[in-house]
Symmetry: C2
Subunit: 367 residues, 2 copies
C-alpha cells in the first residue's frame, strides 16, 4: 500500500542508502538537509511498491552524476534535478507519473526524494543498481532491456543537454559524462524513461524501504549497545541481499584518490590494529574490489563498504581519511544482479579488472 | 530573386568558399561529391537573398563541427546534417523554412547545400562568420543577439545531443565540443534557430554568391593564363571584403600540427624561394595570425589564406605539407565583423593572442 515517508525516516533512510551505496552515491548529508527542508515546509513523499505502479505509467530515474568529491564542494540548489525531469518530460511530450532512484547511495537516494517532494510525484520503492555504480549503463533497467535515453542533464546555471542513443546505454554514458565534466564535474539527470511494467521487471525492488530498515538497525544497535555489525548481518539475512560479513577491523593507513574524467578513482589500504593483516580497496566512485595481497576478498557487483568501527555509519569513498578506525563490511548482491547479462554490464571486466566474479559468500567461506 | 544553383556552379562555389574559409571549414572535395550526387539524382537547390526571407520564417544554421583533420578520415554519409536539422525541428516543435550556412568553408558551404538538396528547403545566400572560425560562439548571429541554442548535434551512428544554454553561446560551444570529441572528433549540427528578420540583421550577406564568383575568378584566370592573384584582388575590391593582397610567395618549410580537444592547432612557416623572408602562420582550424619575426602581418578576424602558387586554389590547414609552393594571401574582413562587439567575440584576444587587432590593409600599408 502506498505510504508516506516521514521526517523521522529520512536520517535512517540516508544512512542505510549510503551503506548500500558501497562507498558511492554521494555523501548523504547535503541531500538530507534538502529533503528535510521540503518536508518541514509541508511537502509529502509517497512511496509506492513497484507492484503498485500502473503498467502504462511513465516512470523516470533521477540522480546526480559526477565525482562525489565535487558534489561536496559544489552543492546542489535543489532546482537542478527537478529541471532535468521537466526537460525530459518536454522532450518526451509526456509528463511522468512517478520517480525512481537510479541507485542506492547517500545523496542519490535523497535527490529523487527531493524531486518527489517538489513535484508531488510518488517515488517507487526500488532502484536500478541495488547499490551504487559509477556509470549510467550499469543499471538493471538497461541490463533487462530499457533504453537509458533520452536523458536530460542539467546544472545550476540552467544549462541543459538531452542525449539520445537509443538502446546504446554505454554511448549515453560516454556523452553524458563529457557534458557533466564540462558542467563543472557534477550534474543532475533524468533518464531511463520507462513504463510501470518495465519497472516491475527490471528494478531492484524494495531498496528504499530496505535502506530505511538498515539505517534504523545501525542507529538502534548503537542506542541499545548492541554490536551493529551483528545486527546488520542478521537484518540482511532476511532480504534479497541475504549475506553480510565483516572482513576486517582496522585503521585506514593509506588513501590515494584522483578526481578526473568525471570520476573519483583510487585505492585505500586498511590494516588491522596489530598490523598483521591488511585489505586493499580499489574504487571508482564506489568500492569495486577488496584484496589481501594476492587473495581476492570481494569484487563488484558484490558490495564492499567501509563503516565506522564504533557506530557502523557508512563512510563514502570521498570521505575516507588516514587514521579512521573502520570495518570493511561486505554484502552479497541480489540474484537479479548476478545473471550472465548483468555481470557483463557491471561485473569485474566492465571495470577493467582481470578477476573472475566469485560470489562474496564463497570467497568468505574460503578464508 | 530566388535562383537555382546548378551542377556547374558547385566546383566554383566550393573553391571560393574554401578561399573565404581562411584555411578552415574543411576540405571541399568530399562535400562537393555529396552535393553533386544530389543534383545528379534530380534534386534542386534554391538560393535566397537574405532580403527574400520572410520576416517570421524559421532559419537554421547548418554545419559540421570538429577537427578538419578528422573529417577527411571519417567522411560523412550525408544523413547526419539532415538528422541534426530534423532533431532540432522536433525539439522546437516547428519546421524550418530555410537553411543558412554557419560559415564559409570548403566542406562547410557544401554541408548546408546538402541539407537544402535533401530537404527541398531554400538556402540563404549568406552565413554567420564571413569566413570560418573554430568555435560556435564566433558567429555574427550571436554577436548581434541571436541565441545559438538549442543546438542539435548528430553523428553517423544516429546519436543525438541537444544542448540549451540560452544566450550563453560560449557555454553551448563548450558542451557541444565535448560531445563532438566523444562522437569521434567530428559531428553535424543544426544551430542558431532564428527568424528571417534576425537573418537580415545579423548574417554576412551574399557570401555564397561571392564564393561562387571568387571560385570562378580563380578557375577562369587559370584557363585564360591571367594571374589569378591579381584577378582576386580586383574581384574583392568590389565586394564587402574590399581588400585582397599577396603577402608572400614561397615554399612551406615547416608544419607543426596537433589534433586535440576537437580542434587542429599548429603553426606553419613559409619562406621565399631565396630564403630571405619568412612568414609564420598560427592556426586553430583556421589561420589566425601571420607574422614575420616580430612584425604582425595580419590577424583574425581578417582572413589569412594559403593558396597554391600556380593555380591560386586554396589549401586548407589540414592539407598543408612541407614543400608546397604557395602564396600567403590576405583578405580584409567586412565592416560588420570589425565592430567592438564583434572583435570581442572573434578578435585576437578571443584566441588567446596578445596582439591588438589592426586592419590588414593598414598593416600591409606599413610594409
Amino acid at each position: 500500500m502506498p505510504r508516506q515517508l516521514l521526517l523521522d525516516d529520512l536520517p535512517d533512510l540516508a544512512r542505510g542508502a549510503a551503506l548500500l551505496g558501497a562507498g558511492g552515491g554521494g555523501d548523504p548529508y547535503i541531500g538530507l538537509l534538502l529533503v528535510t527542508a521540503e518536508l518541514e515546509r509541508g511537502a509529502t513523499i509517497t512511496l509506492l511498491d513497484p507492484d503498485e505502479v500502473a503498467d502504462d505509467a511513465l516512470v523516470v530515474a533521477s540522480a546526480f552524476m559526477g565525482a562525489p568529491t565535487v558534489v561536496i564542494e559544489k552543492i546542489p540548489g535543489g532546482d537542478e534535478p527537478v529541471m532535468a525531469l521537466r526537460k525530459l518530460e518536454l522532450h518526451l511530450g509526456r509528463t511522468a507519473d512517478a520517480i525512481i532512484p537510479m541507485e542506492c547511495g547517500g545523496l542519490n537516494s535523497m535527490i529523487p526524494l527531493l524531486v518527489a517532494a517538489r513535484t508531488g510525484l510518488p517515488i517507487v520503492d526500488g532502484d536500478g543498481m541495488g547499490r551504487a555504480f559509477p556509470e549510467l549503463q550499469m543499471e538493471t533497467f538497461g541490463v533487462y532491456g530499457v533504453a537509458g535515453s533520452p536523458i536530460a542533464i542539467c546544472n545550476e546555471r540552467g544549462h541543459v543537454a538531452i542525449i539520445e542513443t537509443g538502446h546504446d546505454n554505454a554511448s549515453m554514458e560516454w556523452y553524458a559524462r563529457a557534458v557533466t565534466v564540462r558542467m563543472g564535474g557534477v550534474a543532475y539527470i533524468a533518464e531511463y524513461p520507462m513504463t510501470g511494467t518495465q519497472v516491475k521487471q527490471t528494478a531492484i525492488h524494495g531498496t528504499l524501504s530496505l535502506a530505511l530498515e538498515l539505517g534504523r538497525v545501525i542507529r538502534t544497535a548503537h542506542e541499545q549497545h548492541r554490536n551493529p555489525f551483528t545486527a546488520l548481518v542478521e537484518c540482511l539475512a532476511g532480504t534479497i541481499y541475504r549475506f553480510g560479513h565483516s572482513l576486517l577491523e582496522g585503521k585506514v593507513t593509506d588513501v590515494e584518490r584522483q578526481s578526473a574524467d568525471g570520476f573519483v578513482r583510487g585505492t585505500a589500504r586498511i590494516a588491522t590494529f596489530d598490523g598483521l593483516r591488511t585489505v586493499e580497496l580499489t574504487f571508482q566512485n564506489e568500492h569495486l574490489m577488496a584484496r589481501s595481497g594476492d587473495r581476492l576478498l570481494a569484487v563488484a557487483p558484490d558490495l564492499i563498504t567501509v563503516l565506522d568501527a564504533e557506530t557502523a555509519f557508512p563512510i563514502t569513498t570521498e570521505a575516507l581519511r588516514y587514521g579512521q578506525r573502520v570495518r570493511v563490511f561486505v554484502i552479497g548482491t541480489p540474484e537479479i544482479m548476478r545473471t550472465p547479462e548483468a555481470l557483463e554490464v557491471f561485473g569485474p571486466r566492465a571495470f577493467g579488472l582481470d578477476e573472475e566474479w566469485t560470489p562474496v559468500e564463497q570467497l568468505v567461506a574460503l578464508t
